[in-house]
């Protein structure tokens, strides 16, 4: 099941999270938006590492992955990103 969530963050940027869950496991998760991440590839690596994780721990896992050393995000915080993903996961599980 897929779930989506939009989250407007302080400063006006918008996060659009999408999570696909099957049998309690994250199949795919992504966060789109008008933020900046340096380097961009580290952000994408964090996104892809969400796949295969238990859906129930997605928020905590995302917080850790997007707080990784070497990744700097401007316009949104790892807490914002984790919150958007958690809401998208909740929407997916409610289907």
């Amino acid at each position: 099941m897929k779930g989506k969530a939009d989250l407007k963050v302080s400063g006006g940027k918008l996060l659009r999270a999408e999570v696909e869950i099957e049998a309690g496991t994250v199949l795919a998760a992504s966060v789109d938006g008008d933020f900046f991440a340096h380097p961009e590839e580290e952000f994408e690596a964090a996104e892809s590492e969400l796949s295969g994780l238990p859906a129930d721990s997605l928020g905590d896992a995302a917080l850790a992955l997007f707080s990784r050393p070497g990744l700097t995000i401007y316009g949104a915080s790892p807490i914002d990103i984790a919150k958007a993903l958690k809401e998208a996961a909740r929407a997916a599980q409610a289907r």
Binding site: K8, L14, D32, D34, F35, F36, P39, E40, F43, Y74
Partner: protein, 255 residues
């Protein structure tokens, strides 16, 4: 400090403009091209989206097609932009360049250092502008310029726009402004953006803006701009990237 200045007022498509920026990133990183400031525009008009955005979510593709407007994903983050009556710049310098190292040399500091050239250039035109962190420039609280930066291959690429004129109805037709972003603020969102023509009460031709910005960059950066064109190899690489990356569905719809 010397920088090459390449001014291309004739304009180019969205895919070629983004191809040129990436080609410059490659050639400057290999030491084949000097640190370069580029001034350009878009023919036809174009919507660009940020690296992390979804084209389908942010842009009415059908409306773009109907109006002959290009759409392309940038290498840089940030939001969707409608490029029409404006002047665009891009700057490609090594991360060890003195302009990239000013203050702390981090991303936020370099936005400020580089945007100081735009603020000075706008003053040349008679607009009292200020840098609005993270990446905007405003006049009287209204945004006239957005800027975006990426750091790859040991170089910094920053590009940005200055709005000369604005068809806000068309802009809001082409861009899907999300309900979440507009919550109770639709009118405010429309009035938050302004063009130099709105602000100064007269038309600002591209050539006048280009001269003013070049002067502003020289004064604010303490730079000498040396006018030149692109090399044949830069243009060949730009065309390749335009064809193989920036005009492909795989790139533009990757999110």
């Amino acid at each position: 400090m010397r920088l090459r200045l390449v001014d291309t007022p004739e304009g180019a498509s969205g895919s070629l403009n983004m191809g040129i920026d990436e080609a410059l990133l490659g050639s400057v990183s290999r030491g084949e091209s000097p640190p370069t400031l580029r001034l350009y525009r878009w023919t036809p008009p174009c919507v660009t989206i940020g690296y992390f955005q979804s084209l389908e979510a942010e842009v009415d593709i059908e409306a773009c097609r109907e109006r002959g407007v290009d759409a392309v994903r940038r290498l840089t983050g940030g939001g969707a932009v409608f490029h029409d009556d404006e002047i665009t710049y891009s700057l490609v310098i090594p991360l060890g360049h003195e302009l990239a190292l000013r203050d702390s040399g981090d991303v936020l500091a370099s936005y400020r250092s580089i945007c100081a050239g735009l603020v000075r250039g706008l003053a040349e035109l008679g607009a009292e502008a200020s840098f609005e962190p993270i990446n905007d420039i405003a006049v009287g609280g209204r945004k006239v310029s957005g800027n975006a930066q990426t750091r790859r291959r040991g170089c910094l690429l920053q590009h940005g726009t200055v709005l000369l004129g604005l068809d806000s109805e068309l802009m809001f037709t082409l861009l899907r402004i999300p309900a979440e972003k507009l919550k109770g603020r639709a009118a405010e969102a429309r009035s938050r953006v302004a063009s130099l023509s709105d602000i100064l009460g007269r038309e600002i031709p591209y050539g006048e803006a280009a001269e003013a910005l070049a002067r502003g960059f020289e004064l604010a950066w303490g730079a000498e701009l040396v006018r030149s064109g692109f090399s044949a190899s830069e243009l060949a690489e730009a065309r390749r990237l335009a064809e193989e990356r920036f005009s492909t569905r795989e790139w533009n719809f990757r999110r």
